[in-house]
Amino acid sequence: MARSFRYYEKKRGNRSTGSSKLGSAGEALFFAIFLLIGCGVLAVLFTTLVVPEWRVNHEFVEHTCVVLDKRIGESHSDEGTRYRPEIKIRYQIDGQTYVRWTYDISMSYSSGRSDKQAILSQFTVDEKNPKEYRCWYDPADPSVAVLVRGYTWWIWLVFIVPVSFIVISGGGFVYSVLHWGKSAERCAAMTRRDLFNTNNEPQRKFPNIPDCADITNSPGTRLKFRLPIASSPAWILFGVLMACLLWNGIVSVFVVFAVGGYLKGNPDWFLTLFIIPFVLVGIGLIAFFIRQLLVTTGIGPTLVEISDHPLYPRDRCRLFVTQSGQLMMNSIQVLLVCEEEATYRQGTNTRTETRDVYRQEILRREAFEVHRGLPFEAECELGIPAGAMHSFKADHNEINWKVVVKGDVAGWPDYKRSFPVIIQPANRLLGH
């Protein structure tokens, strides 16, 4: 049955219609065009900026000249007026007299009139008693001469643009050519070859299971390993602060305009109505930041230690949880959670969806106090279910296992802290 075209929704996923070979050809052509443009621009910049400077420093011949006149050249554009020093010199080569306006080889304009004036003041114009200055002329074309030599560093910055074009489009072109007309399986097999030895030993042993090294590199005080927290509360706070400052900084500009209109007795109602939702989001961000600030600073660190790692289905191990701070806890809950995470493209957006597929309460304590210097401590047993799927990580899909500590503190916002664990597959044939 034919499906109606959806105007209101972006196309979901990495799907295409038509010939894949034609698509690859179009992709290769696209990159090839940009590669050619990059190479062309690079060649032009090289011959017009680098080569002349190099020739001035290595091939131009030293000579003497007299200064006849001097002035500041001006170039007017939308960005304002730019200047360059211009000095009229006279010199003789093999009996022939040359007169020209010059200074350096690039004769480029730049902002700032005063520094050009300072350059001109170094040269004296005296028709009766002319002073001699050093100059350098081009032996291939003696009509070309300069008063200064040297290199300008900024011209190398100009190369960033064409070099970026070449690197990105060159990489894309090579990728397109390597995958030209090849099946998805053959491309995947080519990727698997590990040309740069990036797949480490655990990855080869258990493909697509995350490495345990980050989890087992910190010893615990009570049990064998201290589990790392998924995302540090301080980093979350920093992220929220940055988002808050950026959003409210931009919105505040419009608020100033709107308030200014009211103060002058000329209110802009359209602007006022337009910015109201943005201001509300900004207030929400501030509230969220204050909440995070309270959770980060008021609630002390949560530590989780584990007796064994990595874990396997049917495994039983010990878990030790501590919670510091000065808190009146309504409850603390420790959970073992398995979460599926799927990332997909929708048009130009990339979205991630998560879904809990397993949730087991390991520990729950209610109504107790945590005193400063005397943290809450509890040890419990963690059991991995027999049919548990192992941890999994691919480009767009993941299965993550984690120990989650949820706290309900009287008079404070609730908090939740996650500690990833790795579950490897049980295997009858391979000894687990």
Partner: protein, 133 residues
């Protein structure tokens, strides 16, 4: 004339395999005359299905190519055999599924392709059940 078809058969009867076990079998190209097959690719691979974009990884890959001097006789079955890896295991979750399969892709003359695929299960992780909220 019937369209070309690829059929795949595993040795033994089961479709459930364990990590480290050998998966072997054969494939056949039907309704294809001799000389019409330019290349055949046999892959043992896993791929994901579900909410996320597809991930795909090849565990074992063989390619027979007449241009590389390989002899391809579509009247005779082709064999494959591989030791299965420790992970990832087949999985049937809520928003993602992970499937293992043997996929045979035959490249015929005039740019045609024919693909056959047979899914098998690596280990027996139970499917995730949707529990009531």
């Amino acid at each position: 004339m019937t369209d070309p078809v690829v059929t795949i058969r595993f040795d033994g009867s089961g479709r459930v395999y364990q990590p480290g076990e050998t998966l072997s079998g054969e494939y056949r190209l039907a309704s294809v005359h001799i000389g019409a097959v330019k290349a055949v690719e046999v892959s043992v691979l896993w791929y994901t299905e579900g909410k996320g974009d597809e991930d795909l990884a090849v565990h074992e890959f063989w390619r027979l190519d007449t241009e590389q001097g390989d002899w391809i006789d579509p009247t005779r079955p082709g064999r494959f055999s591989t030791i299965l890896p420790r992970s990832p295991l087949s999985y049937d979750g809520l928003i993602m599924r992970l499937r293992w399969c043997v996929r045979v892709r035959a490249f015929l003359d005039r740019g045609k392709e024919v693909v056959g695929q047979k899914v098998f299960q690596l280990s027996n992780v139970p499917a995730v059940k949707v529990s009531a909220p």
